[in-house]
């Protein structure tokens, strides 16, 4: 019997969804919306979970460093008084050489199994092709070829009670009709003056603080979050003001421990049956050193600082309020 049975050609869209989703958070927070965020196909990635993790991990780590930057500056917190300020930090973490490639393995069905240095999501944009047996070839997808991952935010600083200020970050946006359109970010932290407890006068002010953030991007077919993540930082700050009470320059520094984790959950139909894929990217933990300076002229100020976590981060921002 001669018969040709047609089976569907299953086209998979590799990481278009993940790549756009991972790019969406910093892009939206930089008051920009990435193009190409239209209707996305829900198909199985050419990468297994292990390769997918290697591909996405650097972007998660870079986003985590950005999120944990631009929070603390001045360590001078009077014991009492009213403070309300709106801050606009802009963070930019440099993509390192180690972030651009990962050791990827060819997937099931390709012979012989082999590994290659393939682009990560922030790495070179050209696909890497390796040769197999019998003229077969395997392609590892390219990346966004980024030099840095920028991010901006809006945060509110409220104080002061017993030498304590509260910091809030909040963002909620629905920027389109596709499954990546929804994004939300919430952060809360406290900064507390240590100097108030020290009897002897030190040449600089000291404080300690923590900040916790959580974010969600998009919605998958089952109605749950496509991407969600959280960041946490805790550390100490030191600074000293030079100038008049409402017109001064204040160098500052800080040392903190930062963590960040990200999860991606999407539905795949490559096997013919709906399959939930949960990509748990590795939690990153870093020691974060910050040095910078801020200036204030009455109710407007600005600052710039450099942070080092093993990666370099530059932060600049404006302050409106007291």
């Amino acid at each position: 019997m001669i018969r040709g049975i047609h089976k569907e050609v299953r086209i998979v869209v590799v990481f278009k969804r993940l790549l756009l989703a991972g790019a969406l958070l910093p892009a939206v927070l930089l008051l920009a919306v990435p193009a190409g965020g239209g209707e996305l196909e829900d198909n199985l990635s050419v990468y297994s979970e292990k390769n997918a993790t290697g591909y996405m991990q650097p972007l998660a780590d870079l986003i985590g460093v950005d999120l944990n930057s631009g929070i603390f500056r001045s360590a001078r917190i009077p014991v009492s008084g009213f403070r309300l300020s709106l801050e606009v930090p802009v963070m930019m973490t440099k993509v390192g050489d180690d972030d651009r490639t990962f050791r990827a393995a060819t997937e099931e069905g390709f012979f012989p199994e082999q590994t290659a240095d393939a682009p990560t999501v922030v790495g070179p944009s050209d696909a890497v092709i390796v040769d197999g047996s019998g003229s077969t070839q395997f392609a590892f997808p390219g990346g966004l070829d980024l030099t840095s991952v920028p991010m901006a935010s809006l945060q509110l600083r409220i104080g002061r009670l017993y030498g304590t200020e509260a910091i809030l970050r909040f963002l909620s946006a629905d920027i389109g009709d596709d499954e990546l359109s929804k994004i939300s970010l919430f952060g809360f932290g406290l900064q507390h003056s240590i100097s108030q407890y020290l009897k002897s006068e030190l040449p600089l002010e000291l404080s300690a603080g923590f900040f916790w953030q959580t974010y969600k991007i998009g919605e998958n077919k089952s109605g749950s979050d496509l991407i969600k993540g959280s960041a946490f930082t805790i550390g100490a700050q030191g600074s000293r003001q030079f100038g008049k009470p409402m017109m001064y320059v204040e160098p500052y520094g800080g040392l903190s421990v930062d963590t960040h984790s990200m999860e991606v959950a999407y539905e795949s139909e490559a096997s013919g049956e709906p399959q939930n894929i949960n990509l748990n990217l590795d939690r990153s933990t870093n020691i974060h050193l910050t040095i910078g300076a801020l200036f204030r002229i009455y109710y407007i100020g600005g600052y710039i600082d450099y942070g080092f976590t093993g990666r370099s981060t530059f932060t600049a921002g404006l302050i409106f309020g007291n």
Partner: protein, 203 residues
């Protein structure tokens, strides 16, 4: 009042920063990789262990239809090549198992060349391949033919392929009263490279 120009200068700087947020967008061109699979099915019903069957596949048209259904054109594909191949028994029910050995060949319909070997299977129990995709190492001649067909497809053609199963031995040997009956398919997995453009802030 002396501070006013400084304040205005800072406000202006803020506006520049906000405006520049849009100018920081850079167009990124990324080579994305699609994985696609096309299969040819066979229905076997034989009284001998040495049998042959064919399957015709409108290879190019099927790939084109699926690309179009997913919003892509043929022109969107920069490269396409064969990544791997497999076979799988899709329907088998019998009082006992069969073990088969043979090969799958592929040729262009309308071509003049002899069929090329695509893959071989050796001592394969049907029960183990039932609903179980068995990946096979492909032969270069067959892959070259498929890759040439893909190149022709990207160039505008709609190649049609003929897959032929040549089964050499079956254990136990089938008879007229104990016929070997099963359905199976051979699938070719493709990688297609597509260029995607994104706008992303990259100062």
């Amino acid at each position: 009042m002396k501070a006013l120009p400084k304040v205005l200068g800072l406000v202006a700087l803020f506006c520049v920063v906000i405006t520049a947020g849009g100018c920081l967008l850079e167009e990124k061109v990324v080579e994305m990789v699609f994985s696609g699979e096309t299969c040819a099915g066979f229905e076997e019903d034989h009284a001998t262990g040495d049998f042959s069957s064919e399957s015709i596949l409108a290879y190019g048209q099927e790939i084109l239809d699926i690309l179009n259904d997913n919003g892509f054109d043929r022109d969107d594909i920069a490269q396409a090549f064969v990544m791997g191949g497999s076979y799988e028994v899709t329907d088998f029910e019998h009082s006992h198992d069969w073990t088969v050995s043979g090969a799958v060949f592929v040729e262009r319909v309308g071509g003049i060349a002899d069929p090329d070997t695509l893959l071989k299977y050796t001592s394969q129990p049907l029960s183990e391949a039932l609903d179980n995709q068995i990946w096979a190492e492909l032969h270069g001649d067959g892959v070259d033919l498929l890759n040439t067909a893909l190149e022709d497809f990207l160039g505008g053609a709609l190649p049609i392929l003929r897959f032929t199963v040549e089964n050499g031995t079956t254990t136990p040997e089938p008879t007229s009263s104990d016929r070997i009956v099963f359905d199976w398919e051979t699938c070719i997995k493709l990688h297609l490279i597509y260029v995607e453009e994104f706008e992303f802030p990259d100062p």
